[in-house]
Protein backbone atom coordinates (compact mmCIF):
# COMPACT_ATOMS: atom_id res chain seq x y z
CA UNK A 1 0.00 0.00 0.00
CA UNK A 2 2.67 2.50 -0.96
CA UNK A 3 1.78 6.18 -0.95
CA UNK A 4 3.46 9.58 -1.16
CA UNK A 5 3.43 12.00 1.78
CA UNK A 6 0.58 13.99 0.16
CA UNK A 7 -1.51 10.85 -0.39
CA UNK A 8 -0.93 9.72 3.20
CA UNK A 9 -2.10 13.04 4.63
CA UNK A 10 -5.19 13.06 2.40
CA UNK A 11 -6.00 9.42 3.26
CA UNK A 12 -5.68 10.12 7.00
CA UNK A 13 -8.02 13.11 6.74
CA UNK A 14 -10.53 11.19 4.65
CA UNK A 15 -10.54 8.30 7.14
CA UNK A 16 -9.22 5.98 4.47
CA UNK A 17 -6.46 3.37 4.29
CA UNK A 18 -5.39 4.51 0.85
CA UNK A 19 -6.20 7.12 -1.77
CA UNK A 20 -5.22 7.25 -5.43
CA UNK A 21 -4.80 10.13 -7.89
CA UNK A 22 -8.05 11.10 -9.58
CA UNK A 23 -10.32 10.00 -6.72
CA UNK A 24 -12.66 12.56 -5.17
CA UNK A 25 -12.48 12.49 -1.37
CA UNK A 26 -14.07 14.42 1.50
CA UNK A 27 -11.36 15.44 3.91
CA UNK A 28 -11.44 16.79 7.46
CA UNK A 29 -9.55 20.09 7.84
CA UNK A 30 -7.17 21.17 10.61
CA UNK A 31 -7.27 24.87 9.73
CA UNK A 32 -9.22 27.12 7.38
CA UNK A 33 -8.02 30.63 6.64
CA UNK A 34 -9.02 33.79 4.81
CA UNK A 35 -7.87 37.38 4.32
CA UNK A 36 -9.53 40.78 3.99
CA UNK A 37 -10.25 40.28 0.28
CA UNK A 38 -11.53 36.71 0.33
CA UNK A 39 -13.07 36.35 3.82
CA UNK A 40 -15.92 38.88 3.31
CA UNK A 41 -17.37 36.81 0.44
CA UNK A 42 -16.81 33.65 2.50
CA UNK A 43 -18.69 35.22 5.41
CA UNK A 44 -21.64 36.04 3.10
CA UNK A 45 -21.72 32.41 1.98
CA UNK A 46 -21.35 31.13 5.55
CA UNK A 47 -24.33 33.20 6.61
CA UNK A 48 -26.47 31.70 3.84
CA UNK A 49 -25.85 28.20 5.20
CA UNK A 50 -27.86 28.54 8.37
CA UNK A 51 -25.07 26.91 10.43
CA UNK A 52 -25.23 27.31 14.19
CA UNK A 53 -21.59 28.46 14.29
CA UNK A 54 -18.10 27.82 12.96
CA UNK A 55 -16.98 24.17 13.20
CA UNK A 56 -14.15 25.00 15.63
CA UNK A 57 -13.26 28.55 16.66
CA UNK A 58 -9.61 27.55 17.22
CA UNK A 59 -9.32 26.39 13.61
CA UNK A 60 -10.65 29.41 11.74
CA UNK A 61 -8.08 32.14 11.09
CA UNK A 62 -8.68 35.53 9.47
CA UNK A 63 -5.68 37.65 8.54
CA UNK A 64 -6.42 41.11 7.13
CA UNK A 65 -3.22 41.71 5.17
CA UNK A 66 -3.96 42.65 1.55
CA UNK A 67 -5.29 46.19 1.80
CA UNK A 68 -4.13 46.85 5.37
CA UNK A 69 -3.46 49.17 7.05
CA UNK A 70 -6.77 50.03 5.37
CA UNK A 71 -5.89 51.78 2.12
CA UNK A 72 -9.30 53.36 1.46
CA UNK A 73 -12.87 53.45 2.74
CA UNK A 74 -14.00 50.40 0.78
CA UNK A 75 -11.08 48.35 2.15
CA UNK A 76 -11.82 49.56 5.67
CA UNK A 77 -15.39 48.30 5.26
CA UNK A 78 -14.16 44.86 4.18
CA UNK A 79 -11.85 44.60 7.18
CA UNK A 80 -14.67 45.82 9.44
CA UNK A 81 -16.85 43.01 8.09
CA UNK A 82 -14.14 40.46 9.01
CA UNK A 83 -13.73 42.04 12.45
CA UNK A 84 -17.48 41.90 13.20
CA UNK A 85 -17.61 38.25 12.17
CA UNK A 86 -14.57 37.40 14.32
CA UNK A 87 -16.16 39.09 17.35
CA UNK A 88 -19.53 37.49 16.76
CA UNK A 89 -17.98 34.01 16.67
CA UNK A 90 -15.30 34.82 19.28
CA UNK A 91 -12.46 33.77 16.96
CA UNK A 92 -9.10 33.86 18.76
CA UNK A 93 -7.14 33.99 15.48
CA UNK A 94 -8.37 37.20 13.93
CA UNK A 95 -5.15 39.19 13.56
CA UNK A 96 -5.66 42.91 14.00
CA UNK A 97 -3.30 45.45 12.39
CA UNK A 98 -0.35 45.79 14.75
CA UNK A 99 -0.48 42.11 15.67
CA UNK A 100 -0.80 40.81 12.16
CA UNK A 101 1.47 40.19 9.23
CA UNK A 102 1.34 38.60 5.82
CA UNK A 103 -0.80 35.49 6.26
CA UNK A 104 1.59 32.89 4.85
CA UNK A 105 4.46 33.98 7.08
CA UNK A 106 2.24 34.64 10.09
CA UNK A 107 0.25 31.36 10.19
CA UNK A 108 3.31 29.06 10.43
CA UNK A 109 5.14 31.48 12.74
CA UNK A 110 2.14 31.47 15.08
CA UNK A 111 2.19 27.68 15.14
CA UNK A 112 -1.28 27.39 13.64
CA UNK A 113 -0.14 24.73 11.18
CA UNK A 114 2.03 21.68 11.78
CA UNK A 115 3.35 18.63 9.96
CA UNK A 116 0.67 16.24 8.71
CA UNK A 117 -2.11 18.87 8.80
CA UNK A 118 -4.65 19.39 6.02
CA UNK A 119 -5.27 23.11 5.49
CA UNK A 120 -7.23 25.26 3.06
CA UNK A 121 -6.95 29.00 2.72
CA UNK A 122 -8.82 31.43 0.52
CA UNK A 123 -5.58 32.66 -0.97
CA UNK A 124 -3.66 30.93 -3.71
CA UNK A 125 -0.35 31.01 -1.81
CA UNK A 126 -1.75 28.87 1.00
CA UNK A 127 0.41 26.13 -0.53
CA UNK A 128 3.30 27.75 1.44
CA UNK A 129 2.67 25.59 4.54
CA UNK A 130 3.68 22.46 2.63
CA UNK A 131 7.21 23.39 3.74
CA UNK A 132 6.25 21.97 7.15
CA UNK A 133 5.20 18.61 5.69
CA UNK A 134 1.51 19.58 5.68
CA UNK A 135 -1.03 19.32 2.85
CA UNK A 136 -2.08 22.88 2.21
CA UNK A 137 -3.86 24.42 -0.73
CA UNK A 138 -5.58 27.58 -1.92
CA UNK A 139 -9.32 27.69 -2.57
CA UNK A 140 -11.92 30.36 -3.21
CA UNK A 141 -14.28 32.15 -0.86
CA UNK A 142 -17.25 29.81 -1.25
CA UNK A 143 -15.05 26.83 -0.35
CA UNK A 144 -13.82 28.74 2.70
CA UNK A 145 -17.31 29.83 3.77
CA UNK A 146 -18.63 26.27 3.62
CA UNK A 147 -15.55 24.79 5.32
CA UNK A 148 -15.86 27.31 8.18
CA UNK A 149 -19.22 25.69 8.91
CA UNK A 150 -18.52 21.99 8.40
CA UNK A 151 -14.74 21.62 8.86
CA UNK A 152 -14.33 19.55 5.73
CA UNK A 153 -14.04 19.96 1.98
CA UNK A 154 -13.74 17.91 -1.18
CA UNK A 155 -10.49 17.27 -3.03
CA UNK A 156 -9.55 15.44 -6.16
CA UNK A 157 -6.43 13.48 -5.15
CA UNK A 158 -3.69 15.04 -7.28
CA UNK A 159 -1.17 13.30 -9.47
CA UNK A 160 2.22 13.21 -7.74
CA UNK A 161 5.33 14.81 -9.21
CA UNK A 162 8.65 14.37 -7.43
CA UNK A 163 11.46 16.87 -7.83
CA UNK A 164 14.94 15.76 -6.81
CA UNK A 165 17.46 18.56 -6.37
CA UNK A 166 21.03 17.37 -6.07
CA UNK A 167 24.40 19.07 -5.75
CA UNK A 168 25.16 22.04 -3.52
CA UNK A 169 23.92 25.56 -4.11
CA UNK A 170 26.44 28.05 -5.58
CA UNK A 171 26.81 31.47 -3.89
CA UNK A 172 23.66 33.64 -4.05
CA UNK A 173 21.54 30.73 -5.30
CA UNK A 174 18.57 30.36 -2.92
CA UNK A 175 15.24 28.57 -2.64
CA UNK A 176 13.78 31.37 -4.78
CA UNK A 177 16.22 30.62 -7.58
CA UNK A 178 15.42 26.90 -7.40
CA UNK A 179 11.69 27.46 -7.70
CA UNK A 180 12.01 30.07 -10.50
CA UNK A 181 14.31 27.69 -12.38
CA UNK A 182 11.84 24.82 -11.82
CA UNK A 183 8.86 26.84 -13.08
CA UNK A 184 10.99 27.91 -16.04
CA UNK A 185 11.63 24.26 -16.79
CA UNK A 186 8.06 22.93 -16.51
CA UNK A 187 5.98 26.06 -17.29
CA UNK A 188 3.16 27.87 -15.47
CA UNK A 189 0.85 24.89 -16.01
CA UNK A 190 3.61 22.27 -15.76
CA UNK A 191 2.19 20.87 -12.52
CA UNK A 192 -1.49 21.69 -13.18
CA UNK A 193 -3.81 19.83 -10.75
CA UNK A 194 -0.71 18.00 -9.38
CA UNK A 195 1.34 17.82 -6.22
CA UNK A 196 4.98 19.00 -6.25
CA UNK A 197 7.12 17.10 -3.76
CA UNK A 198 10.50 18.75 -3.25
CA UNK A 199 13.30 16.37 -2.23
CA UNK A 200 17.04 15.80 -2.52
CA UNK A 201 20.22 16.93 -0.85
CA UNK A 202 19.83 20.57 -1.91
CA UNK A 203 16.39 20.71 -0.24
CA UNK A 204 17.77 19.05 2.90
CA UNK A 205 20.44 21.76 2.97
CA UNK A 206 17.89 24.60 2.57
CA UNK A 207 16.74 26.49 5.65
CA UNK A 208 13.01 26.67 6.45
CA UNK A 209 12.73 30.12 4.87
CA UNK A 210 13.96 28.71 1.55
CA UNK A 211 11.55 25.80 1.78
CA UNK A 212 8.61 28.15 2.48
CA UNK A 213 9.61 30.19 -0.59
CA UNK A 214 9.63 27.10 -2.80
CA UNK A 215 6.28 25.75 -1.60
CA UNK A 216 4.80 29.29 -1.80
CA UNK A 217 5.36 29.34 -5.56
CA UNK A 218 4.10 25.80 -6.32
CA UNK A 219 0.83 27.49 -7.43
CA UNK A 220 2.82 29.40 -10.07
CA UNK A 221 3.36 26.05 -11.81
CA UNK A 222 -0.39 25.35 -11.46
CA UNK A 223 0.14 22.84 -8.63
CA UNK A 224 -2.45 21.93 -6.03
CA UNK A 225 0.20 21.75 -3.32
CA UNK A 226 3.94 21.86 -2.74
CA UNK A 227 5.44 19.76 0.01
CA UNK A 228 8.80 19.08 1.67
CA UNK A 229 9.23 15.93 3.79
CA UNK A 230 9.73 17.01 7.44
CA UNK A 231 13.19 16.60 8.97
CA UNK A 232 15.30 17.97 11.82
CA UNK A 233 14.99 21.54 10.51
CA UNK A 234 11.20 21.23 10.47
CA UNK A 235 11.23 19.96 14.06
CA UNK A 236 13.48 22.80 15.16
CA UNK A 237 11.15 25.34 13.51
CA UNK A 238 7.93 24.02 15.08
CA UNK A 239 9.48 23.56 18.54
CA UNK A 240 7.81 25.95 20.96
CA UNK A 241 5.45 27.20 18.23
CA UNK A 242 3.06 24.48 17.15
CA UNK A 243 -0.21 24.71 19.09
CA UNK A 244 -1.73 21.32 18.26
CA UNK A 245 -0.61 17.73 17.88
CA UNK A 246 1.07 16.85 14.60
CA UNK A 247 2.02 13.78 12.58
CA UNK A 248 5.19 13.20 10.61
CA UNK A 249 4.65 11.47 7.29
CA UNK A 250 7.12 10.44 4.64
CA UNK A 251 6.70 9.03 1.15
CA UNK A 252 7.18 5.29 0.79
CA UNK A 253 10.28 4.33 -1.20
CA UNK A 254 8.06 2.61 -3.79
CA UNK A 255 5.41 5.37 -3.94
CA UNK A 256 4.13 6.03 -7.45
CA UNK A 257 4.85 9.33 -9.19
CA UNK A 258 3.50 10.46 -12.54
CA UNK A 259 6.85 12.15 -13.13
CA UNK A 260 10.25 12.41 -11.44
CA UNK A 261 12.26 15.48 -12.38
CA UNK A 262 15.93 15.71 -11.42
CA UNK A 263 17.70 19.03 -11.20
CA UNK A 264 21.43 19.51 -10.72
CA UNK A 265 21.86 22.66 -8.64
CA UNK A 266 25.64 22.89 -8.67
CA UNK A 267 25.84 24.80 -11.95
CA UNK A 268 22.86 27.08 -11.38
CA UNK A 269 23.05 30.86 -11.62
CA UNK A 270 20.66 33.11 -9.68
CA UNK A 271 17.43 33.34 -11.71
CA UNK A 272 15.31 36.24 -12.91
CA UNK A 273 11.79 35.69 -14.31
CA UNK A 274 11.08 38.17 -17.09
CA UNK A 275 7.64 39.70 -17.74
CA UNK A 276 4.89 38.59 -17.94
CA UNK A 277 4.96 35.04 -16.61
CA UNK A 278 6.92 33.37 -13.78
CA UNK A 279 8.02 30.70 -16.30
CA UNK A 280 10.21 33.22 -18.15
CA UNK A 281 13.20 32.41 -15.92
CA UNK A 282 16.68 33.24 -17.17
CA UNK A 283 20.13 33.41 -15.53
CA UNK A 284 20.73 36.83 -13.93
CA UNK A 285 23.65 37.42 -16.29
CA UNK A 286 21.16 37.65 -19.17
CA UNK A 287 19.23 40.45 -17.44
CA UNK A 288 22.00 42.98 -16.92
CA UNK A 289 20.65 45.37 -19.59
CA UNK A 290 17.38 45.92 -17.71
CA UNK A 291 17.29 49.29 -15.92
CA UNK A 292 14.87 49.40 -12.97
CA UNK A 293 13.02 52.15 -11.15
CA UNK A 294 11.78 50.09 -8.19
CA UNK A 295 12.95 47.15 -6.10
CA UNK A 296 10.57 45.36 -3.73
CA UNK A 297 12.14 43.04 -1.16
CA UNK A 298 9.74 41.05 0.99
CA UNK A 299 6.18 39.57 0.73
CA UNK A 300 4.80 36.12 1.60
CA UNK A 301 7.39 34.67 -0.75
CA UNK A 302 10.53 36.36 0.58
CA UNK A 303 9.69 38.48 3.64
CA UNK A 304 11.14 36.30 6.39
CA UNK A 305 14.02 37.34 8.62
CA UNK A 306 16.46 35.19 6.60
CA UNK A 307 15.39 37.12 3.47
CA UNK A 308 15.86 40.45 5.26
CA UNK A 309 19.36 39.35 6.33
CA UNK A 310 20.23 38.34 2.75
CA UNK A 311 19.12 41.75 1.45
CA UNK A 312 20.81 43.67 4.27
CA UNK A 313 24.08 41.83 3.70
CA UNK A 314 24.12 43.36 0.21
CA UNK A 315 22.72 46.81 1.06
CA UNK A 316 24.66 47.52 4.29
CA UNK A 317 27.24 50.23 3.71
CA UNK A 318 25.99 50.89 0.18
CA UNK A 319 23.50 53.34 -1.33
CA UNK A 320 20.40 52.57 -3.36
CA UNK A 321 20.89 53.94 -6.91
CA UNK A 322 19.54 57.49 -7.33
CA UNK A 323 16.94 56.39 -9.91
CA UNK A 324 15.57 53.53 -7.79
CA UNK A 325 12.95 53.34 -5.02
CA UNK A 326 13.79 50.37 -2.82
CA UNK A 327 10.84 49.12 -0.72
CA UNK A 328 11.57 46.67 2.10
CA UNK A 329 8.49 44.64 2.97
CA UNK A 330 8.95 42.49 6.07
CA UNK A 331 6.25 39.84 6.47
CA UNK A 332 5.33 40.09 10.16
CA UNK A 333 5.69 42.37 13.17
CA UNK A 334 8.08 39.79 14.69
CA UNK A 335 10.30 40.11 11.63
CA UNK A 336 10.26 43.92 12.01
CA UNK A 337 11.26 43.60 15.66
CA UNK A 338 14.05 41.19 14.85
CA UNK A 339 15.28 43.56 12.09
CA UNK A 340 15.54 46.32 14.69
CA UNK A 341 17.40 44.08 17.14
CA UNK A 342 19.90 42.96 14.51
CA UNK A 343 20.51 46.45 13.14
CA UNK A 344 19.02 45.61 9.73
CA UNK A 345 16.56 48.47 9.95
CA UNK A 346 19.40 50.94 10.31
CA UNK A 347 21.29 49.35 7.41
CA UNK A 348 18.25 49.60 5.13
CA UNK A 349 17.41 53.18 6.02
CA UNK A 350 21.01 54.34 5.73
CA UNK A 351 21.12 52.72 2.29
CA UNK A 352 18.13 54.84 1.24
CA UNK A 353 15.40 52.20 1.38
CA UNK A 354 11.89 52.73 2.69
CA UNK A 355 10.74 50.09 5.17
CA UNK A 356 7.05 49.27 4.94
CA UNK A 357 4.71 47.85 7.53
CA UNK A 358 3.82 44.20 6.82
CA UNK A 359 1.22 44.19 4.00
CA UNK A 360 0.59 42.46 0.67
CA UNK A 361 0.11 45.95 -0.86
CA UNK A 362 2.72 46.38 -3.58
CA UNK A 363 2.85 42.71 -4.65
CA UNK A 364 -0.61 42.91 -6.20
CA UNK A 365 -0.51 46.56 -7.21
CA UNK A 366 -2.82 47.42 -4.33
CA UNK A 367 -0.98 50.19 -2.51
CA UNK A 368 2.40 51.08 -0.95
CA UNK A 369 4.41 51.00 -4.18
CA UNK A 370 2.28 50.96 -7.36
CA UNK A 371 4.11 51.25 -10.70
CA UNK A 372 3.53 53.98 -13.32
CA UNK A 373 3.32 53.43 -17.08
CA UNK A 374 6.62 52.22 -18.51
CA UNK A 375 8.27 51.56 -15.15
CA UNK A 376 10.22 48.41 -14.43
CA UNK A 377 10.59 46.74 -11.04
CA UNK A 378 12.64 43.90 -9.68
CA UNK A 379 10.66 42.14 -7.00
CA UNK A 380 11.03 39.19 -4.66
CA UNK A 381 7.28 38.55 -4.92
CA UNK A 382 5.66 35.72 -6.85
CA UNK A 383 3.83 37.04 -9.93
CA UNK A 384 4.80 39.23 -12.87
CA UNK A 385 1.54 39.17 -14.83
CA UNK A 386 0.46 42.14 -16.96
CA UNK A 387 -0.46 45.00 -14.61
CA UNK A 388 0.33 42.96 -11.51
CA UNK A 389 2.09 45.80 -9.68
CA UNK A 390 0.39 48.72 -11.36
CA UNK A 391 0.00 50.11 -14.89
CA UNK A 392 -0.56 47.54 -17.65
CA UNK A 393 2.53 48.92 -19.37
CA UNK A 394 4.76 48.43 -16.33
CA UNK A 395 7.00 45.39 -15.95
CA UNK A 396 7.93 43.10 -13.06
CA UNK A 397 11.05 40.93 -12.91
CA UNK A 398 11.02 38.25 -10.20
CA UNK A 399 14.18 37.38 -8.27
CA UNK A 400 15.67 36.58 -4.85
CA UNK A 401 16.34 39.14 -2.07
CA UNK A 402 20.10 39.18 -2.79
CA UNK A 403 19.56 39.85 -6.50
CA UNK A 404 16.87 42.49 -5.85
CA UNK A 405 19.14 44.23 -3.33
CA UNK A 406 22.11 44.23 -5.69
CA UNK A 407 19.89 45.53 -8.50
CA UNK A 408 18.65 48.36 -6.26
CA UNK A 409 22.25 49.50 -5.84
CA UNK A 410 23.22 49.02 -9.48
CA UNK A 411 20.10 50.69 -10.92
CA UNK A 412 19.79 47.73 -13.27
CA UNK A 413 19.33 44.01 -12.75
CA UNK A 414 22.53 42.40 -11.48
CA UNK A 415 24.18 40.16 -8.93
CA UNK A 416 25.98 41.06 -5.67
CA UNK A 417 29.13 39.79 -7.36
CA UNK A 418 29.05 42.86 -9.60
CA UNK A 419 29.21 45.26 -6.65
CA UNK A 420 32.44 46.85 -5.61
Amino acid sequence: MSMTITEKILAAHAGREKVEPGEIIKARLDLVMGNDITAPIAIDKFEKLGASGVFDRERVAIVPDHCTPNKDIKSAELVARCRRFARQHDLPYFFETGRAGIEHALIPDQGLVGPGDAVIGADSHTCTYGALGAFSTGVGSTDLGCAMAVGETWFKVPEQIKFVYYGSLPPYVSGKDLILYTIGKIGVDGALYSSMEFTGEAIEALDMAGRFTMCNMAIEAGAKNGIVPPDGKTMEYIKGRVRRGYTLYESDPDAVYSRVIEIDCSGLEPQVSFPHLPENARPVSEASQVAIQQAVIGSCTNGRIEDMRAAAAVLAGRRVHKDVRCIILPSTQQVVLQMIKEGLMEAFIEAGCVVSTPTCGPCLGGHMGVLAKGEKAISTTNRNFVGRMGHTESEVYLASPAIAAASAVLGRIGSPEELK
Partner: protein
Amino acid sequence: MIQGKVHRYGSDVDTDVIIPARYLNTTDPEELAAHCMEDIDKGFTSRVSPGDVIVAEDNFGCGSSREHAPIAIKASGISCVIANSFARIFYRNSLNIGLPILECSDAVRAIRDGDEVEIDLARGLITDLRSGETFGAKAFPDFAIELINDGGLVEYTKKLIKQRESGSL
Protein backbone atom coordinates in the same frame (compact mmCIF):
# COMPACT_ATOMS: atom_id res chain seq x y z
CA MET B 1 -29.58 25.84 -24.21
CA ILE B 2 -27.02 28.64 -24.32
CA GLN B 3 -26.40 30.74 -27.41
CA GLY B 4 -23.96 33.60 -27.77
CA LYS B 5 -21.07 35.28 -29.52
CA VAL B 6 -17.48 34.14 -28.86
CA HIS B 7 -14.81 36.33 -27.26
CA ARG B 8 -11.54 34.57 -27.90
CA TYR B 9 -8.30 34.69 -25.84
CA GLY B 10 -4.98 32.83 -25.70
CA SER B 11 -3.24 30.83 -22.97
CA ASP B 12 -2.57 31.70 -19.31
CA VAL B 13 -5.30 34.35 -18.98
CA ASP B 14 -4.63 35.19 -15.33
CA THR B 15 -6.95 36.42 -12.62
CA ASP B 16 -5.11 39.77 -12.46
CA VAL B 17 -6.20 40.61 -16.02
CA ILE B 18 -9.68 39.15 -15.48
CA ILE B 19 -10.20 41.47 -12.52
CA PRO B 20 -7.24 43.66 -11.49
CA ALA B 21 -6.44 43.79 -7.77
CA ARG B 22 -7.13 47.54 -7.68
CA TYR B 23 -10.84 46.66 -7.84
CA LEU B 24 -10.74 44.04 -5.09
CA ASN B 25 -11.90 46.56 -2.51
CA THR B 26 -15.45 45.62 -3.50
CA THR B 27 -17.40 42.37 -3.58
CA ASP B 28 -20.31 43.76 -5.61
CA PRO B 29 -20.77 41.63 -8.78
CA GLU B 30 -21.96 44.59 -10.91
CA GLU B 31 -19.00 46.76 -9.91
CA LEU B 32 -16.60 43.88 -10.61
CA ALA B 33 -18.26 43.20 -13.98
CA ALA B 34 -17.67 46.83 -15.00
CA HIS B 35 -13.89 46.11 -14.95
CA CYS B 36 -13.96 42.52 -16.23
CA MET B 37 -11.02 41.68 -18.57
CA GLU B 38 -9.94 45.33 -18.36
CA ASP B 39 -6.19 44.69 -18.41
CA ILE B 40 -6.24 42.28 -21.36
CA ASP B 41 -9.15 43.63 -23.44
CA LYS B 42 -10.31 47.17 -22.72
CA GLY B 43 -13.29 46.88 -25.10
CA PHE B 44 -14.67 43.70 -23.54
CA THR B 45 -17.27 45.31 -21.29
CA SER B 46 -18.71 47.39 -24.14
CA ARG B 47 -18.81 44.45 -26.61
CA VAL B 48 -20.16 41.72 -24.35
CA SER B 49 -23.86 40.82 -24.50
CA PRO B 50 -25.78 38.53 -22.16
CA GLY B 51 -25.30 34.89 -23.19
CA ASP B 52 -21.89 35.42 -24.81
CA VAL B 53 -19.14 32.83 -24.45
CA ILE B 54 -15.40 33.08 -23.69
CA VAL B 55 -13.14 30.65 -25.56
CA ALA B 56 -9.51 30.45 -24.43
CA GLU B 57 -6.55 28.10 -24.76
CA ASP B 58 -4.53 26.60 -21.85
CA ASN B 59 -4.60 27.30 -18.10
CA PHE B 60 -7.47 29.82 -18.06
CA GLY B 61 -7.80 31.65 -14.72
CA CYS B 62 -4.29 31.03 -13.42
CA GLY B 63 -2.95 33.02 -10.50
CA SER B 64 -4.89 34.22 -7.52
CA SER B 65 -7.72 32.44 -5.68
CA ARG B 66 -9.96 35.50 -6.03
CA GLU B 67 -13.53 34.32 -6.57
CA HIS B 68 -14.06 37.87 -7.83
CA ALA B 69 -12.73 36.59 -11.21
CA PRO B 70 -15.51 34.08 -12.04
CA ILE B 71 -18.01 36.42 -10.31
CA ALA B 72 -16.97 39.28 -12.64
CA ILE B 73 -17.19 37.04 -15.72
CA LYS B 74 -20.61 35.71 -14.75
CA ALA B 75 -21.97 39.16 -13.86
CA SER B 76 -20.72 40.57 -17.17
CA GLY B 77 -23.20 38.27 -18.91
CA ILE B 78 -20.89 35.47 -20.00
CA SER B 79 -22.83 32.21 -20.01
CA CYS B 80 -19.96 29.74 -20.38
CA VAL B 81 -16.14 29.59 -20.59
CA ILE B 82 -14.61 26.98 -22.89
CA ALA B 83 -10.86 26.25 -22.70
CA ASN B 84 -8.30 23.50 -23.19
CA SER B 85 -7.65 23.59 -19.44
CA PHE B 86 -8.41 25.69 -16.37
CA ALA B 87 -6.26 26.61 -13.39
CA ARG B 88 -7.50 24.49 -10.50
CA ILE B 89 -8.75 27.17 -8.11
CA PHE B 90 -10.61 28.92 -10.93
CA TYR B 91 -12.19 25.56 -11.87
CA ARG B 92 -13.38 24.99 -8.28
CA ASN B 93 -14.62 28.54 -7.89
CA SER B 94 -16.62 28.36 -11.13
CA LEU B 95 -18.32 25.12 -10.08
CA ASN B 96 -19.03 26.59 -6.65
CA ILE B 97 -20.68 29.78 -7.92
CA GLY B 98 -22.41 28.22 -10.93
CA LEU B 99 -20.40 29.66 -13.83
CA PRO B 100 -20.51 26.95 -16.50
CA ILE B 101 -17.06 25.91 -17.76
CA LEU B 102 -16.15 23.27 -20.33
CA GLU B 103 -12.83 21.69 -21.28
CA CYS B 104 -12.81 20.95 -25.01
CA SER B 105 -9.64 21.21 -27.11
CA ASP B 106 -11.43 20.37 -30.38
CA ALA B 107 -13.80 23.29 -29.92
CA VAL B 108 -10.96 25.62 -28.93
CA ARG B 109 -9.07 24.65 -32.08
CA ALA B 110 -12.01 25.28 -34.41
CA ILE B 111 -13.97 28.18 -32.96
CA ARG B 112 -13.02 31.70 -34.10
CA ASP B 113 -13.42 35.05 -32.40
CA GLY B 114 -16.89 36.43 -33.13
CA ASP B 115 -18.44 33.05 -34.03
CA GLU B 116 -21.93 32.36 -32.78
CA VAL B 117 -22.06 29.14 -30.70
CA GLU B 118 -24.79 27.04 -29.16
CA ILE B 119 -24.09 24.99 -26.03
CA ASP B 120 -26.08 22.11 -24.55
CA LEU B 121 -24.63 22.08 -21.03
CA ALA B 122 -26.41 18.97 -19.84
CA ARG B 123 -24.90 16.93 -22.67
CA GLY B 124 -21.63 18.86 -22.88
CA LEU B 125 -22.14 19.64 -26.59
CA ILE B 126 -20.80 22.78 -28.27
CA THR B 127 -21.98 23.72 -31.79
CA ASP B 128 -20.25 26.37 -33.87
CA LEU B 129 -23.14 27.90 -35.82
CA ARG B 130 -20.74 29.33 -38.43
CA SER B 131 -19.42 25.92 -39.50
CA GLY B 132 -22.19 23.72 -38.15
CA GLU B 133 -19.61 21.54 -36.39
CA THR B 134 -20.45 20.03 -32.98
CA PHE B 135 -17.87 19.17 -30.32
CA GLY B 136 -18.17 17.04 -27.18
CA ALA B 137 -16.62 18.51 -24.00
CA LYS B 138 -14.81 16.48 -21.34
CA ALA B 139 -17.34 15.08 -18.85
CA PHE B 140 -17.42 16.44 -15.29
CA PRO B 141 -16.53 14.04 -12.46
CA ASP B 142 -19.61 12.54 -10.72
CA PHE B 143 -19.11 14.67 -7.64
CA ALA B 144 -19.09 17.86 -9.71
CA ILE B 145 -22.38 16.80 -11.30
CA GLU B 146 -23.82 16.24 -7.80
CA LEU B 147 -22.65 19.77 -6.86
CA ILE B 148 -24.16 21.28 -10.00
CA ASN B 149 -27.44 19.39 -9.48
CA ASP B 150 -27.62 20.59 -5.88
CA GLY B 151 -27.23 24.18 -7.14
CA GLY B 152 -23.63 24.79 -6.09
CA LEU B 153 -21.52 24.24 -2.98
CA VAL B 154 -23.67 26.39 -0.67
CA GLU B 155 -26.78 24.28 -1.33
CA TYR B 156 -24.74 21.08 -1.11
CA THR B 157 -23.33 22.17 2.26
CA LYS B 158 -26.79 23.14 3.54
CA LYS B 159 -27.85 19.56 2.83
CA LEU B 160 -24.78 18.26 4.68
CA ILE B 161 -25.54 20.44 7.73
CA LYS B 162 -29.16 19.19 7.81
CA GLN B 163 -27.97 15.58 7.60
CA ARG B 164 -25.56 16.15 10.48
CA GLU B 165 -28.20 17.86 12.60
CA SER B 166 -30.64 15.03 12.08
CA GLY B 167 -27.88 12.60 13.09
CA SER B 168 -27.94 10.75 9.81
CA LEU B 169 -24.24 11.44 9.21
